[in-house]
Symmetry: C2
Subunit: 378 residues, 2 copies
């Protein structure tokens, strides 16, 4: 087998491994296109169901198609009994939520016969939030709450987490978050899913692989401790002193800067606007939430000002983690639910990429260069 | 982010994605090197534990190091109770063995605290055979058999499958098989494991991803129906007529030909020799096994002769699936255990690649080319 191009590409950096119609990330101009639509066009206007349909089928659904799709998703939310039993046992061990999600997700088609990829995808997407919510409650000593098929995907997720019917503002906040992070080019977890499905294995194998990759600390996008700084600062007056000290110590400011986006991350803009709207609408019922929101804005403003002072020209911007943390915190989600909630959305992107990959009919199989010995004797 | 090389590489064909000291596949000359050793040097001489140590640490173990490694593997074979419970529930659904393996493997560290990669790898490798054997027995209505830490990895696997102490010939047959398929360049499942671990996630996530990829029909190497033809032929006299009819109908002869190897697959040679030895040594206790072996040789000889007659110059050779099926069948394994048994071995290769990938410290993240619309309005 003669192979002409065999230069080693560490990390496959710069190599184009797929063609996609799902999303385009242009870091230089701060733009994210989702299936043809600039993110700003759809993040707050579309429902999550509409965005998923768009990603999976390449076009906006008609009203009746959307109704059918929404209903199919809503009908498949309940977990197999074996998955619930497993979640109870994982909760006893108090495993991190992402580990629980990976383990339980692997079993979520246990009550299903083998299905064509798109039918399998609906069951998987429908059930991931149920797993996350059930585990969250179990690990906190509460009973899981059965899904309500009358609620939208986003609303039902919040409902299963808290047992409370979410307000419109909360639903819109969650939906905007899910829409915003649903796809983002060929990141490591999305690539994982494509590599797996390219063998023509089942959809769930690809999603479980994606969850495993997403768990890794080098995988960007899943929000972590971006808000901790805000909590530590606690009052606006302390912001400048705290931040100066941190920067002078050489610490990185979590929530600022991104590998790809050299200007402002468009997702940060969208989530910032969604957070503003949500916190304002909830100001009466949750004045302390609104206070935290204002504090976060002060910290952000001060941080950007000081970053420009200490690192002029670097143009470090608020990233998606900062506003994700703010928004999800405002929705009552503790930080250990941030990554699983990210997965609940991104799984739709993974599976959209899987459909594309399946259409190519090709396996993904690069080469390795052997650099060891060749003639050892045992 | 300026990217110079952005030619689309469908399937990443010809792209070098990793440097490795684990194995080199040279299809043109029919050679497979495992960590410096030509396969023929180690397949029958080394124990599986020695081969794994060699792959993971890059050198043959000293006697004391081997003892320690063997004992560590032997100590970790028992499954968490939750994994056994899950296997029972999967068996009720009669899921295929590879699905059961993927699901149960995902939970096999449930009783373990987070561990450094190499410690985690030992637990995973130790327990995969226990899962396969337990599920096989459960799905056939039998109780799982507890592992015996006095037996070697290969011997214990056979013991857990059958409840019988395997003979020396059987152990050597299984061990040769495990050694032979332990690593084979950057195939799709191995690449999957590398992509996942490159995010610095946990080892089990990488192995579960590998199992998911291995399940796919486009993933070569896992033996399927290669022996069915031999069973259908049943008596030597029917071989020629059966094969002529099949070739003239345009059917592919399972067990012959390989994408990579243009001459004889070295694994086929090694497994052929192992099968011969095993069937001869077992001829007294299992005369019908020896008869089947002789029939298979007749079928092989006739198939190669006819392939040369009908497709001159194609040089189709007996592939690894043919001798795998023969050897594993001779060990009493039904065909649905072939792929899981392949995974039991290959997982060691996956994890060896994971160690290498972790050492690079790099994430694997190629790019996608966006080919969709860019300015749609919602």
């Amino acid at each position: 087998m003669q192979v002409l191009d065999s230069e080693f590409k560490p990390g496959l950096a710069g190599v184009v491994a797929a063609e996609t119609k799902l999303s385009r990330v242009d870091g230089a101009i701060g733009e994210l296109i989702i299936a043809g639509y600039p993110l700003e066009e759809i993040a707050q206007q579309a429902s999550f169901e509409e965005v998923v349909y768009l990603l999976w089928r390449g076009e906006r659904p008609s009203e009746s198609a959307l109704e059918k799709f929404t209903s199919a998703l809503a009908q498949h939310r309940e977990l197999p009994q074996a998955t619930l039993t497993l979640l109870e046992q994982i909760a006893v061990q108090k495993k991190p939520a992402m580990d629980a999600l990976r383990m339980a997700a692997g079993t979520l088609d246990l009550d299903q016969a083998a299905k064509p990829a798109e039918e399998a995808a609906i069951v998987i997407l429908a059930r991931l939030p149920t797993i996350v919510a059930a585990y969250h409650r179990l690990v906190n000593g509460e009973r899981p709450i059965k899904p309500d098929s009358d609620l939208s995907h986003a609303a039902n997720y919040l409902y299963m987490l808290t047992g409370q019917r979410p307000t419109k503002a909360q639903i819109k906040g969650m939906e905007t978050y899910l829409n915003t992070v649903v796809d983002h080019g060929l990141n490591a977890s999305t690539f994982t899913s494509r590599v797996i499905i390219a063998t023509q294995t089942d959809m769930l194998s690809a999603v479980v692989g994606g969850i495993g990759a997403l768990k890794g600390p080098l995988h960007g996008g899943a929000p972590g401790p971006a808000l901790d700084m805000v909590f530590e600062i606690a009052v606006a007056e302390r912001a400048e002193g705290y931040l100066r000290e941190k920067i002078e110590r050489g610490d990185r400011l979590m929530g600022f800067g991104h590998r790809v986006y050299k200007v402002r991350d468009p997702r940060a803009d969208v989530l910032g606007a969604a957070a503003q709207k949500m916190f304002e609408e909830m100001a009466d019922e949750s004045p302390e939430g609104f206070e935290l929101y204002k504090l976060a804005l002060t910290v952000e403003e001060k941080a950007l000002e000081l970053l420009e002072e200490y690192k002029p020209g670097r143009k470090l911007q608020t990233n998606v983690e900062f506003y994700t943390a703010l928004l999800l915190h405002g929705l009552g989600l503790p930080a250990d639910l941030f990554s699983p909630t990210f997965a609940v959305s991104r799984a739709a992107g993974w599976m959209g990429h899987c459909f594309e990959q399946l259409e190519t009919g090709r396996i993904i199989r690069p080469k390795a260069r052997y650099v060891g010995e060749i003639n050892s004797k045992w």
